[in-house]
Symmetry: C2
Subunit: 77 residues, 2 copies
């Protein structure tokens, strides 16, 4: 709680996806291909423009080889 | 990984929401009121019929006073 409340879960997800994707050296297009999603959709997720669904969170986590909870964890997790 | 792959993230979310809600002694209607969602929507989420969005996961976690990651954590988390 506390300061973490100012960041939405959507923003946390966006930041974590970009972070892990960059760490793996993947482009948005490569991640999109792995996850079976569209490149522009990945871009809009990473800008926190999209209200991503749990099914797509699962696809992205699998493509990034992390646990879904890793993508939603904030600084206090 | 391993056996956990047979359970979808949607099912894990459904199970965890029901578990925490029951632990708190809340009805689906009470949770729905707290979260600003509809009672029948909560019911369908708990039956894993709905592809819940990250914004609604955040609302439900706040209403249940848990972290969003708690709702998505599987047995191996």
């Amino acid at each position: 709680m506390g300061g973490a409340d100012s960041t939405t879960l959507r923003e946390t997800l966006a930041k974590n996806i970009r972070l892990v994707r960059n760490k793996l050296g993947l482009s948005q297009e490569q991640l999109a291909d792995e996850a079976g999603l569209h490149r522009t959709y990945i871009g809009s997720i990473e800008r926190a423009e999209r209200n991503v669904s749990v099914d797509n969170i699962e696809k992205i986590a699998k493509a990034l080889k992390v646990k879904p909870t890793d993508l939603l964890a904030g600084e206090d997790d």
